[in-house]
């Protein structure tokens, strides 16, 4: 700010100086020459500090921005994937529970999903008859695509 104050002060002082010097000369060829010299002096006063200033490189600004953008987008992607996994897990569990209830079986279910958010394994807990178990195994395999070897039965 101090440098700016100095700069503006120098421009105003130079302008006033030029005005006074020009005013001192009577009209004629001499005055024209003085005006020209004053003009050059003024132009130098205004432009010299600007030409000394360094223009920042564009890379100073863009440094790190694409990485930040990718990070922010990744946050959103992860958020969507996690939310979707939660919904798929709970909807699949609800589907199995509903089928178990229709077979008069009381069970608890925990489903896991893979990276593509497709249900890939299930743990079913509860005392069920062999018939109900076979029925549920078949439903889980055919409707949900979870193979028998990925179905864990406890209790």
């Amino acid at each position: 700010m101090e440098a700016l104050r100095q700069y503006i002060l120098s421009v105003v002082t130079a302008a006033m100086l030029c005005g006074i010097v020009t005013g001192l000369f009577p009209s004629g060829a001499g005055k024209q020459v003085v005006r020209l010299i004053c003009g050059l002096f003024l132009a130098y006063t205004v432009l010299a500090p600007i030409s000394r200033g360094e223009l920042p490189d564009l890379t100073d600004f863009s440094l790190g921005i694409p990485e930040e953008a990718a990070q922010a987008a990744a946050v959103g992607e992860n958020l969507a994937r996690d939310s979707m996994a939660e919904i798929i897990k709970s909807e699949t569990e609800a589907y199995i529970l509903d089928k178990a209830r229709s077979l008069q079986a009381e069970v608890t279910v925990e489903v896991s999903v893979n990276e593509e958010n497709v249900p890939d394994s299930v743990t079913v807990s509860g005392a069920v008859s062999p018939y109900v178990r076979r029925q549920l195994q078949r439903i889980i395999e055919s409707d949900l695509g979870i193979a028998k070897e990925n179905q864990k039965w406890t209790g």
Binding site: S62, G76, N117
Partner: protein, 346 residues
């Protein structure tokens, strides 16, 4: 029964998205808190309330600007009276008048220039907090490429614009005023030309930067929007090819996540726009009032015939116009970007 259960779960998942609380717009900065509306769910109502609050704060500034204007008119009248004398008295009167008016107006202009610079910095800082939120929300909605491209463009142009304004354009406004005052005192043609160059450079820089930014936004909007739309379509095709029941569940879940991501993106976007306007509006109106009153003062002073002094007052009003353009450009940049985020995947 199973269908009802699935629908119930889907509605529940829509009402309380798993991690929606994580993606909310940053709180409005301190300077905008007084005018920020309490309810931000409706953009129209929020905007009206914002305007109402900002206009309510304007009265003291109006009084102060009118007081300065009256002082300037009185000074010009005095100079006009003294100019009826001939010779050195006339020159001295014009010189003294210029100094008095420039000094008087520079005080208020200086505080407004600082206010504009602070507002621009504040909007830019708020933008840095808002951009990641909008990017994440748009990416959650499937616009991964578009959101990253929008973030990159906005952050880059914002950094360039705010840096350009604080390092070059604000000093140029001071230079413009100095040249205008010197021109008024001396009547040198060269000073007048240089003053015009300073003014032209400021407007040119702002116009070019905003034009390039809007072009970038338009192009990336089309290019990355198409990529994202194709990716979304491909995902839907993949989902429908999975086992029927699982396909249905995946499709419902995908729809639920898209809708909830859209909801939180809209909420964050509307809050963000109102917050940016809350920071921007009061200073913009303050500078705008000063601009209009100076224009009116210049018109009034033209009646007394003091040409150079009238021109000087006009120059101060032009400087206010340049400040309006600078703050307006910074605000517009962020608003355009936020609206593009809100528009979503094309």
């Amino acid at each position: 029964m199973s269908k009802i259960l699935l629908v119930a779960i889907l509605i529940f998942s829509l009402a309380i998205p798993a991690s929606a609380a994580e993606l909310t717009a940053p709180t409005v900065p301190q300077s905008g808190r007084e005018v920020m509306p309490e309810k931000t769910d409706s953009f129209g109502d929020g905007l009206l309330k914002l305007l109402e609050n900002a206009l309510g704060q304007l009265r003291p500034d109006l009084k102060e600007a009118s007081r300065v204007s009256l002082g300037v008119v009185a000074a010009v009248m005095m100079v006009s009276l003294l100019q009826s004398f001939s010779g050195s008295v006339k020159t001295a009167a014009e010189f003294a008048g210029t100094t008095a008016i420039a000094a008087g107006l520079l005080l208020s202009a200086n505080s407004l220039i600082r206010l504009a610079a602070e507002t621009i910095t504040e909007i830019s800082e708020y933008g840095k907090l808002l951009l990641p939120v909008m990017t994440a929300a748009m990416a959650a909605q499937g616009g991964v490429s578009s959101s990253a491209a929008l973030y990159t463009g906005t952050a880059l142009f914002d950094a360039v614009l705010s840096s350009l304004i604080s390092r070059l354009l604000v000093p140029m406004v001071y230079l413009f005023l100095a040249l205008a005052a010197a021109n008024s005192a001396m009547g040198e043609d060269l000073l007048k030309q240089m003053r015009n160059v300073a003014k032209g450079l400021i407007s040119w820089c702002l116009k070019i930067l905003l034009t390039v930014f809007t072009t970038y936004i338009a192009i990336t909007g089309v290019v990355s929007g198409t990529t994202d739309a194709a990716a979304l379509k491909a995902t839907k095709v993949t989902i429908s090819s999975v086992v029927p029941v699982v396909g249905g569940i995946l499709s419902d879940a995908s729809e639920a996540v898209l809708v909830s991501a859209g909801l939180m993106k809209n909420a964050a976007g509307i809050y963000g726009i109102l917050a940016v306007l809350a920071v921007f509006l009061s200073p913009f109106l303050k500078i705008g009032v000063q601009y209009l009153i100076l224009k009116f003062t210049a018109a009034l002073c033209a009646l007394f015939g003091a040409k150079r002094l009238t021109e000087l007052i006009g120059d101060f009003s032009t400087a206010m116009g340049l400040l309006l353009a600078m703050t307006g450009s910074e605000c517009l940049l962020l608003l355009i970007s936020t609206v593009c985020f809100l528009k979503g995947v094309g």
